[in-house]
């Protein structure tokens, strides 16, 4: 049982008896509200020009989520580009670029309108109003449609478990609830990671670009990609050189299925009466024809 569910259960059971009942009720509400953009979501800004490739973020992530199964691979080396896995929520890769070596940390992007949460038929994958996209074990049925839908291929599945989980960065939502920063941000020794409200981070990112226009490419990756993401990136080189997909467009992914889903109630209400009418009409015609035959003396 995760913390939110616990809170909800406690809230239901004890109600007003709890000292901080008001706060808890609010959190319970937040857990069920799927509304987007009502509050300012939090985000993380990655300045890849500052990243030194020390992989402390990987280590901090493993420390914070060891119970969830996250590990820190001691022997990982930079000669191969790694992806996140069912045992690693974040990885730092080294890229040879036109401006030399650049390191880039990758993890779930925490989209503002995530494809995974839209794809999830049990709402196990959920965009919280606070910003993180979280996964609830009790609800997930392991269909892996989130993996099919995610444009960044971030949800990972435990293929070698009888009780498999979906694994991905949850932006330390449990730490955020305690008022702490995400583990990777807190432990980054190079100051490459900044945590805060998304709009403030966007301003800060633009400020850095304006202050050092020759250092940065004039784009914040994640500002508009797939409708905006919760992780924002600054870089000194075009983003495709750092292994980012730049062909994803700026349309939020849920939009792509919206029209189809809008058609569903229309079809469900309009088609049956049409079919019934058609059936009646064809039966009436058949009856009329049979009568005609009889009059003509045919069998």
């Amino acid at each position: 049982m995760d913390r939110r569910d616990l809170l909800k259960t406690m809230g239901a059971a004890a109600g007003a008896a709890l000292v901080s009942g008001g706060l808890k009720a609010e959190q319970g509400e937040a857990a069920t509200a799927q509304s987007l953009g009502t509050a300012e979501p939090v985000a993380i800004l990655v300045d890849t020009t500052k990243c030194i490739g020390c992989r402390t973020c990987e280590w901090a992530c493993a420390e914070a989520h060891r119970e969830a199964g996250v590990e820190f691979p001691e022997d990982a080396d930079f000669s191969v580009v790694r992806t996140t896995s069912d045992k690693q929520w974040t990885v730092v890769n080294r890229y040879e670029t036109e401006k030399g070596i650049v390191y880039a940390k990758k993890q779930c992007m925490h989209c503002l309108q995530p494809a995974c949460a839209t794809a999830c038929l049990t709402r196990a994958m959920r965009k919280t109003p606070e910003g993180p996209v979280t996964w609830t074990e009790d609800r997930c049925m392991g269909c892996r449609f989130c993996m099919v839908s995610c444009p960044f291929d971030m949800p990972k599945f435990e293929y070698h478990s009888a009780v498999p989980r979906i694994q991905k960065c949850v932006m330390c939502s449990e730490r955020l609830a305690e008022g702490k920063q995400p583990a990777c941000v807190e432990n980054c020794p190079a100051g490459a990671l900044t945590f805060g409200p998304r709009s403030a981070l966007l301003e800060q990112a633009r400020q850095r670009i304006y202050a050092e226009p020759d250092t940065y490419v004039h784009q914040v990756y994640g500002e508009d990609e797939v409708g905006g993401t919760g992780w924002l990136y600054l870089a000194s080189v075009p983003f495709q050189q750092l292994g980012f997909r730049t062909d994803l467009g700026t349309t939020p992914f849920p939009t792509y299925t919206r029209e189809f889903l809008y058609a569903v109630p229309v079809v469900l209400t309009v088609v049956p009466p049409l079919l019934l009418a058609l059936s009646r009409a064809s039966r009436a015609r058949a009856a009329a024809q049979a009568e005609e035959h009889e009059e003509e003396g045919n069998p």
Partner: protein, 422 residues
């Protein structure tokens, strides 16, 4: 307690005993048990049982080649997505017979609905094998977590409801088998409603299976991805279903010759020729849609590649060619040509569905997914299990050649039992 209710009780008791006897008798296999088909399919199922035990003990990775890059493989791409397209014959035929009143096709409605129902039970049921946490499968149904924004939510619900609708459509045959006349009359009264509901559901989930890939737009090869996937899936399910009816009818007619009713015997060739014509029509609509999508998506730039040739094979060799063959077979009333066309069409559907879901999916990935022999083995076992159940039903219930709704009197149970025992 009155005497009346006591005697009623005794009656019910006797009836129950008779029913039990009848069921026991019916459950026994008919004919030889150790046939080559039984031995081979039985072995396949036994092997699959072992494989599935391993799968549930040690996870999907133990017997499948699924990966983080390929979350959906052969079980989804073939069993579910292709299997459901093949089962499309049921909604097309019930539409023609019950909505358009084309009585000519009535004799094959029952067997088609049975096939559709079993296809959903087994192939959509195979989905449970693929779910990582199948014990949570009721979550989208019980309501504590409705993911209504998900296309898969729609598909899951429609699978479930459609299975019920098809069972209702088929249920008069079960009532006839059991000799329950009143129940049969009641169930037959539900048929039109179930048909209308079933067709509506089919429109939505046949297209819904395509809509699953709308958010995978950057992962499916541009020759197979388009915004029109849902409509393409829907239209192709029409001729996929009809080709399956033709193909399956050919086999059923040979294997279950003794069970085929007079009405179906007399009109079978006519029916097949008629179906060929409809299939050809649907295929030309489909080809035209594909052409529109081809031009709209400026797909010609991909034709020079290996996958371009693969695409042409699918569109020309396994859609346009069988469509032409269907027409030739229809014109010359040549059943052999029609059957060839049906087989080619089915191959084309397999190719199309796999191209979207597996072959063209992440076509850029450095390590491609190829199903393991164990995934294919389990799929064969699912098919074998379905055939066993199909055979069991066809050998007992009035399925072949008995027009639904036209049977006024089901034969008395005792008489049937007597005949069957002979």
């Amino acid at each position: 307690m009155t005497a009346v209710s006591q005697s009623r009780r005794a009656l019910v008791g006797a009836e129950l005993r008779r029913f039990g006897k009848f069921m026991l008798h019916e459950l026994k296999p008919k004919g030889r048990v150790l046939t080559p088909f039984n031995v081979i399919s039985g072995a396949i199922m036994l092997v699959a049982a072992v494989l599935l035990a391993i799968r549930f003990a040690r996870g999907l990775g133990a017997i499948t080649n699924l990966s983080q890059d390929y979350p959906w493989g052969f079980w989804i791409g073939f069993d579910v997505i292709t299997g459901v397209a093949f089962a499309g014959g049921a909604y097309v035929l019930t539409f023609m017979v019950y909505i358009l009143g084309q009585e000519k096709y009535h004799p094959i409605v029952r067997v088609t609905v049975l096939n559709g129902f079993l296809a959903y039970v087994f192939y959509a049921g195979a989905l449970l094998l693929d779910l990582g946490r199948p014990w949570r499968v009721i979550n989208p149904i019980i309501g504590n977590s409705f993911g209504v924004s998900s296309v898969l939510f729609l598909v899951a619900w429609h699978f479930m409801l459609y299975m019920m609708a098809e069972f209702v459509e088929f249920s008069p045959a079960v009532a006839e088998w059991l000799g329950w006349r009143r129940v049969r009359r009641f169930l037959a009264g539900l048929t039109l409603g179930a048909v209308i509901f079933g067709i509506t559901l089919s429109l939505l989930h046949q297209s819904g299976l395509g809509a699953l890939y709308l958010m995978a737009r950057d992962k499916v090869h541009p020759l197979w991805y388009s915004e029109f996937i849902p409509i393409l899936f829907l239209v192709s399910s029409i001729f996929a279903g009809l080709s399956m009816v033709i193909f399956e009818g050919t086999i059923t007619h040979k294997v279950f010759r003794h069970r085929v009713g007079a009405a179906l015997h007399a009109s079978h060739d006519d029916i097949v020729v008629g179906l060929a014509r409809i299939a050809a029509g649907a295929m030309f609509v489909y080809l035209f849609l594909q052409l529109l999508v081809f031009v709209h998506g400026q797909r010609w730039v991909y034709l020079g590649t290996g996958l371009g040739a693969w695409y042409l094979l699918e569109m020309v060799g396994l859609v346009a060619l069988p469509a032409a063959l269907f027409i030739q077979g229809y014109r010359g009333r040549d059943l052999r040509v029609i059957r060839t066309a049906a087989v080619l069409t089915l191959l084309g559907i397999v190719l199309n569905r796999l191209n979207v879901s597996v072959i063209g999916f992440k076509w850029y990935a450095p390590v491609r997914y190829v199903p393991s022999w164990m995934e294919i083995e389990v799929t064969l076992a699912v098919i074998a299990a379905e055939l066993w159940v199909f055979r069991w039903v066809v050998n007992r219930m009035p399925v072949l050649g008995t027009a639904v709704g036209l049977v006024r009197d089901a034969p008395a149970r005792e008489a049937r039992a007597g005949v069957l025992a002979a």
